[in-house]
């Protein structure tokens, strides 16, 4: 670590990644829990494709009994998130304390996330979900479990399902593909089917991410499918995902694979994607991006994690590339509080498409949630 970075100081990665610090990038789901317990994201999140508000099953049972260090039930009566039998609320709040060698005077507090959730259970199979964050983007959709194979139909404004919804928005598969919340929320419909160990979502959206209207008169489609299984005590998940958008100025095709291996408290999650952009006119570019997370739950409420990211904006030419590795510790002392401390080292191979140099960053994160 360079001398300019003080021990325990956390750096905002969003700024280091060249993104504005004004926007609050929502960091939503925790896929490693889905992997560790072999359960679909929709069991813990109201949104069946994961992320956002947690179900009462998650907030009232799973988190207190399985994830938090402190059980929470004996010493503290957990507040009920239900305003009434049919209305439930939730929240996510994240603040960072940041330090990075990429900027001077970089001791920053950053309010990264502030989301409020509201769910109306209209009938046993139908919900109306509203999520408003600090940015101008939001999600508002209805979900009806009316299809066979425990399937659902979703309609409204939502983030199309693609790959892993890592909670860290700076992971390259999120930051470089632009398919992550909140900017990528779009208007359309989604069908989900859950036949046994298979979980499939197919979306048809406007392809005008961040807008309520189809600004380019062309639709986009996405597919996300994962198969989960346990083999000799090892949890295995293998998934494929894709996004296609035929815009007036370019055709965007993003496709990749993702999955996990989990054994006792050790979990490895990975995703690798190719993003082909075919501008009209112009040469096609094929970007490669991959992200990995390795975590180990030392005990309930305490885990160590390591990450690795790689991004090459164009595999066909030498236009630069960047990679990043890091690690940290995460503690969840109560069912509504999580604390992270991490360090990351970013390496850059400069080129026409990648600028900047190598840098270090450390992050402290406070997360309040319910």
């Amino acid at each position: 670590m360079r001398s300019k970075t003080k021990q325990g100081i956390i750096a905002i990665v969003a700024a280091a990644m060249g993104l504005s610090g004004v926007l609050a990038f929502r960091a939503d789901a925790v896929p490693r829990y889905s992997a560790r317990y072999g359960q679909r994201c929709g069991l813990c999140h109201v949104n069946p494709s994961g992320a956002g508000m947690r179900t009462t099953y998650a907030s009232q049972q799973l988190v207190p009994e399985e994830l938090a260090w402190g059980h929470g039930r004996d010493s503290l009566s957990l507040p009920s998130p239900q305003l009434s039998p049919n209305v439930t609320i939730g929240a996510d709040f994240r603040e960072l304390y940041v330090g990075s060698t990429q900027r001077a005077n970089n001791l920053d507090f950053f309010l990264m996330q502030g989301d409020l959730y509201l769910v109306f259970q209209l009938d046993p199979k139908t919900t109306l979900y509203f999520n408003r964050g600090m940015s101008n983007s939001y999600e508002l959709f209805g979900t009806a479990y009316v299809l066979p194979l425990t399937g659902y139909l979703k309609a409204g404004r939502f983030v199309p399902s693609y790959g892993w919804k890592f909670d860290d928005h700076t992971m390259y598969v999120r930051s470089e593909l632009d398919l992550a919340p909140p900017l990528s929320s779009d208007v359309g419909i989604e069908i989900g089917l859950q036949p046994g160990p298979l979980d499939v979502q197919i979306s048809m959206v406007n392809g005008s991410r961040g807008s309520t209207l189809d600004t380019d008169n062309s639709l986009a489609q996405s597919l996300n499918a994962i198969f989960r299984h346990e083999l000799a005590g090892i949890g295995v998940g293998i998934g494929v995902t894709g996004y296609h958008q035929r815009g007036p100025r370019a055709i965007l095709d993003v496709s990749g694979g993702y999955g996990y291996l989990t054994w006792h408290g050790l979990s490895w999650l990975a995703e690798a994607d190719f993003a082909r952009t075919s501008p009209r006119p112009g040469p096609r570019t094929t970007a490669l991006v991959t992200s990995h997370e390795l975590s180990y739950a030392v005990r309930q409420g305490l885990e160590f994690f390591g990450t690795y990211d790689f991004y090459d904006p164009d595999r066909c030419v030498k236009s630069g590339a960047k990679s990043r590795w890091g690690g940290g510790v995460r503690v969840m002392p109560t069912p509504y509080l999580a604390l992270d401390a991490s360090y990351r080292r970013a390496n850059t191979v400069a080129g026409p498409a990648i600028s900047g140099g190598d840098f270090d960053e450390t992050v402290l994160q406070l997360h309040l949630f319910y």
Binding site: Q39, T55, T56, T150
Partner: protein, 197 residues
């Protein structure tokens, strides 16, 4: 006089031997299996176990208006495919340390009247007995498909039955936050083989 007594005793023993019920034993594993299916709004899953044991005793001449049935299922062995869900099921719902087994005892044969078990001929009986689960017992009526076969010189009774179990009927907890994930009514299917003792 002594000869008469001896012949009487002999006749009594022969009669008693003829009236002794045929006993068939169900042992864990093999073809014996219990499957329950939960179909709730946002999740469907099933649990299985082959830890089923018991016995079937009926009169040699055929199934009369009653048959002695005792079947036990080891509930802690139920597997839903997800370890955490198994744990929650054992600890939070079935409380298997207090109530380790589901038991069926009976049974009155409600029909068909005077049916006989012939080798290779399937028969469907309607029976009634007592089903105990989670410390609660209820009368249970169900149709059972039965077939008698011979294998390795021993007679076997193959049986299969399905019936619904409402968790609320057996004081099994189902908190409100699980309403969309855990059905109140579980579809239970029991298949097995009882081998002549």
């Amino acid at each position: 006089m002594h000869r008469a007594i001896i012949w009487s005793l002999f006749a009594l023993l022969v009669t008693a031997a003829a009236a002794q019920a045929d006993e068939f034993v169900i042992t864990p594993g093999g073809a014996s299996k219990v499957v329950f299916v939960s179909k709730a709004t946002v999740e469907s899953f099933q649990g299985t176990t082959d830890h089923i044991a018991g016995s079937i005793r009926h009169a040699p001449a055929g199934v009369d208006d009653s048959v002695a049935v005792h079947v036990e299922v080891d509930l802690a062995s139920l597997d839903t495919g997800i370890a955490m869900r198994n744990k929650h099921m054992r600890v939070n719902h079935l409380e298997t340390t207090k109530y380790p087994k589901a038991v069926f005892d009976g049974a009155t044969v409600l029909g068909p009247a005077s049916a006989k078990l012939e080798a290779g001929e399937p028969v469907t009986f309607e029976i009634a007995g007592l089903f105990s689960l989670h410390g609660v017992s209820h009368s249970l009526r169900t149709n059972v498909q039965v077939q008698l076969d011979t294998h390795g010189g021993k007679r076997q009774i193959h049986f299969e039955t399905s019936f619904p179990v409402a968790l609320s009927d057996y004081a099994i907890s189902r908190p409100q936050f699980l309403f969309l994930k855990l059905a109140n009514e579980q579809a239970v299917k029991v298949t097995g083989v009882a081998i002549e003792k």
